[in-house]
Amino acid sequence: MSLNREDVEKLCLLARLEVTPEEMTDVASKLSDIVTLVNQLRTADTTGAVPMAHPLDIAQRLREDKVTESDQHEHYQQNASMVERDLYLVPKVIE
């Protein structure tokens, strides 16, 4: 099963991940190989099988609804590339 340039570009948009024109042929070709590999699943007989999201039979643990974190934004923002007045800076979003 082959993925073409257009298929890859759609995936790039969904994943917010750029593939350059130079990379495109190789990426499309290798992704196609991977899809061929995983296509083996499509013909397997899974009648009656329940999808398994988690390897052990456990449920989400609950805890008391009380605040346990403290405000450490200065500490955490040390790793941010652009911060001003405690706000993360991003390129323009709204026209």
Partner: protein
């Protein structure tokens, strides 16, 4: 000093025959001399290590030590380490200084272990050769032209070359066991949920598990004892009490039944590897174990299942890397936020990571979700049931860890499918959440081969004990790569 195991060194430290500072300096010297050719370390924390060693010596003098107090270890660079760079082998986190410690790191620190540094790995744990790292490949000390395995390649190489007494790793599809096999060390992946994942940069959240790379099963038990146990910071960490792994090793041998899947001895398995596995099984028979052939009905689908589930989970987990709050940020102006994200992520991630994110996006996208992701989850259930059924008749499952010994650097990196097929024997255990380990069982052309043991959920005692008894009967785990004795 680098020849001794953690267990032996713990005795010598306790009796004050050696000090942690001496031991730590010894390993730091080895790293400075040997790592240039191996590239097992991304960051060496020399000053911190010496300070930790000094504190450990004070603790040892006052008699309130643990078996790991003063022992120099390394952490795979996927574990967050406070105030220390945590890169995941990626340009995306090349500038990231973690503001906190992972639970595994905190527990080992509290026990008094000394951190020598952070080890090299495949980028974001995606790989089987340590060749996708932004920092260049790690090399196998047994033959520096070969890979140490991946993704915990740096940890495996560091322990094999005696640059650390032990190291942490993570295993999602085989990333502890496969490098352990290639590098001739003991690698243990516990039951899913046995060890907290808090502070481990997430790859595939339903598969990831932290574990150990050491030279013996006994050393693995010592480290896992400290690392394991419930954690309120990880809701997938099991609340089950951690048994005394080390005591289990000292229990007398009980005859067990070991199941060997006929599926594993297929044409993909190197005949020399196959023979060493059979020889290893004979060792268990001599101990009194019964070997029984079993069949895992759906195991041949484990690679395609994994390469749907893991990339799908990765595509979600890696969406947090957007250049805003931490990590790499594209330079220059972007016309809008979407372009900013695309360029940051396109530039920050390497080729394999991008492939996996795009694969994950594909199998989760509208129109394909049912055919791939949902289908993979159903087959995952079937694979789990196959193991559960097998464990009704056998106590452990044994087989090869890898299809061949270590391959050459550069040999498979341009063929992802060939690379993925390396995981063929290791992928089943994480899909079912089962504990598994690899222990050295021989050499082929002077390259190590690993025997894999898989147990039912929460059976680490049984696994470690079997590996320990095997290591009492054989010497493979004690071999040193040529050139690394001194």
């Amino acid at each position: 000093m680098h020849e001794a195991t953690i267990a032996q060194l713990a005795q010598e430290l306790k009796s004050r025959k050696i000090s942690s500072q001496e031991l730590t300096k010894h390993f730091l010297e080895r790293i400075s001399r040997l790592d240039e050719d191996l590239n097992a370390f991304i960051t060496i924390t020399q000053n911190d290590a010496l300070a930790q060693a000094k504190a450990a010596d004070a603790r040892l003098a006052s008699g309130e030590e643990t078996p790991l107090t003063g022992i120099p270890i390394a952490h795979k660079d996927i574990f967050c380490t406070k105030r220390v760079k945590t890169s995941c082998g990626s340009r995306m986190l090349d500038n990231f200084i973690s503001p906190y410690d992972a639970t595994v790191v905190a527990r080992l620190k509290q026990a008094g272990a000394v951190m020598l540094g952070k080890t090299n790995m495949d980028e974001f744990a995606m790989g089987s050769s340590n060749e996708t790292s932004f920092y260049g490949p790690a090399h196998n000390p047994w033959d520096r032209n070969t890979v140490p395995g991946g993704s915990s390649g740096g940890s495996a190489a560091a322990v094999a070359a005696r640059m650390a007494c032990g190291a942490t790793g993570t295993d999602t599809g085989g990333s502890i066991r496969q490098p352990a096999a290639f590098s001739g060390v003991t690698g243990v992946k516990p039951t899913y949920g046995r060890v907290s994942r808090y502070g481990i940069v997430a790859f595939a959240s339903s598969l990831d598990q932290a574990g150990t790379l050491t030279r013996t099963a006994e050393d693995a038990a010592l480290m896992l004892q400290i690392m394991s146990g419930s954690d309120e910071l990880d809701s997938t960490a099991l609340p089950n009490l951690v048994p005394d792994f080390c005591k289990a090793l000292k229990d007398p041998w009980e005859n067990i039944t070991i199941g060997v899947p006929d599926n594993f001895f297929d044409k993909g398995l190197d005949p020399n590897n196959a023979q060493l596995i059979r020889d290893a099984l004979s060792v268990f028979e001599k101990l009194g174990a019964t070997i029984k052939e079993i069949h895992l009905e759906n195991i041949h689908l484990s690679v395609p299942v994994y390469y749907v589930v893991a990339p799908a989970e990765a595509s979600s987990n890696l969406s947090r890397f957007d250049g805003i709050r931490y990590g790499y940020r594209t330079e220059g102006e972007s016309s809008d936020l979407a372009e900013f994200y695309m360029r940051t992520r396109g530039e920050g991630f390497g080729a394999e990571v991008k492939r996996r994110i795009l694969t994950g996006t594909y199998v989760l996208s509208a129109g394909y979700y049912d055919a791939y992701y949902l289908q993979a989850q159903k087959i995952r259930q079937l694979i789990s049931q196959d193991f559960a059924r097998a464990f009704e008749d056998v106590d452990l499952i044994a087989g090869p860890t890898t299809p061949t010994p270590a391959f050459s650097i550069g040999q498979k990196i341009n063929d992802p499918i060939q690379m993925y097929l390396n995981d063929i024997y290791t992928i089943g255990a994480p899909l079912a959440g089962l504990p598994a380990l690899s222990t050295p069982c021989g050499l082929v052309n002077n390259l190590p081969v690993g025997l894999q043991l898989i147990g039912p959920h929460l059976s680490e005692e049984r696994l470690l004990k079997a590996a320990h008894y095997f290591q009492q009967e054989t010497d493979w785990h004690a071999l040193v790569p040529p050139g690394y004795i001194d």
